[in-house]
């Protein structure tokens, strides 16, 4: 059934449908309305999950971890400073090979304070050993949250999974979303499956001191699990399409748009891919052979899909995140994937800290790339929309 709802409400609906046992959360903008919605559902008796309203994000992840280790489905959500504050536990959960799910409603990282959208909080966790999906709209946020429980609990994976979505742009914007009914979700999502349960019936210990050789083997097992998650994600996606919802194709990790005959391909992730599709359509009407490749999974990183989509093209990578001093993280990932296989590779960082980049600006940027890449096949730069160009670059001493 289609209902008009925000990304955060869509996520809350997915958590309810997934029959989560324990939700462990701490509020932070722009994620807060997820936990407010869940609390409302709980108060009205619609939600069976227990909710721990912890005193910090470090404890939010710890609470979810404890619940998951003791045998129930667990969920948390956060953003920005909150994600940084729980950083230690994010790694601990992956090292413990404990399936659980987190949604990140992305937001810029301080200092200075900024509550608006940027994906750096999400992308900086790509070394932590999690499966990392990123939604383009509230529908995907709901679908991917549901899928993430099954992916995370698949015995070939047994890793935690996070789903990112752009703060405010998706978290707070209301659009029609298809919400499946309970029996449909039950037919797709089996009962909880996990590598071990902490229970006196079968006293196992986890996380104690490991010798170097055992530790190294365990870390390698995570690398291998991320590798085998490629097929699991495609398999789960196909099953979701056949049982739950088919209007978005989940049989691939990443999503190509008009790439087959394209001379130029723009790589992006998240909500602005919608604007980018419109820009692609509009430029195609003007006779430019351009397409788009949307990254839906940052981990695992689908080298095969990406290399195939980009081979022989001129590629522009858009990053709404930074690896400061090295441009954007997507650009770094793409550059190491395609190497000499592309005709041109530009990486641009833009839309940082909530700077709006719309369809018109994207078209302008693509035209700059089309012209510039003729003489300059490789370039890395920060792209400012017109109104930002007028703002002077400041040093800390100049800010009052």
């Amino acid at each position: 059934m289609k209902k008009v709802m925000s990304g955060n409400e869509a996520v809350a609906s997915a958590v309810k449908l997934a029959r989560v046992g324990v939700v462990s959360v701490y509020p932070i903008t722009p994620q807060t309305t997820i936990i407010e919605k869940l609390s409302e559902m709980k108060a009205q008796g619609e939600l069976s999950a227990d909710i721990i309203r912890v005193e910090s994000e470090h404890s939010a992840m710890a609470g979810a971890f404890g619940a998951a280790a003791a045998g129930v489905r667990a969920f948390t959500a956060t953003a920005s400073q909150g994600l940084l504050y729980m950083h230690e536990m994010v790694w601990w959960v992956a090292g413990s090979r404990m399936p659980l799910v987190m949604v990140v409603a992305t937001r810029a990282v301080g200092a200075p304070w900024n509550i608006w959208n940027e994906n750096t909080d999400f992308t900086q966790l790509r070394d932590a050993g999690w499966i990392m999906g990123f939604a383009m709209n509230p529908q995907e946020a709901l679908d991917m949250t549901l899928q993430s429980f099954r992916i995370s609990e698949d015995s070939r994976v047994f890793l935690p999974m996070m789903v990112g979505m752009d703060g405010f742009i998706l978290s707070h914007t209301k659009v029609p979303v298809n919400v499946p009914d309970e029996s449909t979700v039950d037919s797709f999502l089996p009962l909880r499956n996990q590598p071990y349960v902490i229970d006196p019936e079968d006293p196992v210990g986890m996380g104690n001191m490991f010798q170097p050789q055992d530790y190294m083997r365990l870390r390698h097992s995570i690398e291998l699990a991320i590798k085998s998650s490629h097929d699991v994600i495609r398999e789960v996606g196909r099953d979701y399409n056949s049982k739950v919802y088919h209007e978005i194709d989940y049989s691939t990790l990443n999503v190509p748009y008009k790439v087959d005959d394209a001379e130029y391909v723009v790589v992006s992730m998240g909500a602005w891919s919608g604007d980018l599709m419109e820009a692609v359509d509009s430029l195609r009407e003007k006779g430019l052979n351009v397409g788009m490749l949307r990254i839906r999974y940052l981990r695992p990183w689908a080298e095969d899909e990406i290399r195939k989509a980009l081979r022989g093209r001129k590629v522009l990578v858009l990053d709404r995140a930074t690896s400061l001093g090295r441009g954007g993280p997507l650009h770094l990932e793409i550059a190491s994937t395609v190497r000499g296989d592309v005709e041109a590779l530009w990486g641009t960082v833009t839309g940082i800290g909530g700077v709006s980049v719309g369809k018109g600006e994207l078209e302008g940027l693509i035209m700059e790339f089309v012209e510039g890449s003729k003489s300059e096949p490789e370039r890395r730069f920060w792209y400012y929309p017109e109104r930002v160009r007028r703002v002077e670059l400041r040093t800390p001493r100049e800010v009052e």
Partner: protein, 268 residues
Amino acid sequence: MAMRQLGMALGKDVAMVVVAGCSSVIQGMGPKDSYNYPVVNTAFASGPPVAAGMARAYKARNRDVTVVVWAGDGGTADIGFGSMSGAAERNEDMIYLCVDNEAYMNSGGQRSGSTPVSARTSTTPEGKRENKKALPFIMIAHNVPYVATASVGYPMDYVDKLKKAKEIKGFRYLQVLTPDPYGWLFDPSKTAEVAKIAVQTCYWPLIEFQEGKLTVSNESLHCLKGNTRRPLTDFTSIQGRFKGITEENLKSLQTYIDSLWDRIRSMM
């Protein structure tokens, strides 16, 4: 020692959460360990919320399991203090056991918030300037169902308190003094003796707080009257960490201990 007695007291259906500290090492090397309880090892500040998540999951699964957090004084007084206070305020269902050896002993004996004034540690070679954080009183102020202190010098008292704690629901806090021969600088064979002297000199009050009432345990009753206490110097002179303590500093330690007992009397 405190770990062995825990096993005696709590029996079956226990799950342990062990935060960073010497107990994360003495389990032995993974992937096997030497405990008979299921154990979740976890990062320093996360013991109480991990235990809270487990307790809630057991409840959801209709399993009757006592969750025990095992943490040192560093994990309790300092880095884990916020999350413990949060779990206590929410009255999460667990036994929180603080194993107090009065310094960061696992990393080589650096000062903690629970180190007493004038004690030398590897980060306070001149003697610590500040008093020991009065954790039991802070936990009493949280008004949780059960707070108690114990000493490994009096194992029966410790075991009784653990057994009592197991029968209560909600947040239960136990702090057990465990003298460390390597950090406190005394011969390991004297561990139980030092733990007893700590109580006899009234340095370490054995108390219980339940249903809003504070009681003094039998081994500490003599401390309520100042004139029957064993002299504090019996405690300070048996350990190397107080070597060279000045008269003035000894007086300051005594003043701190007197203030603890004033507080206990005022709360009874």
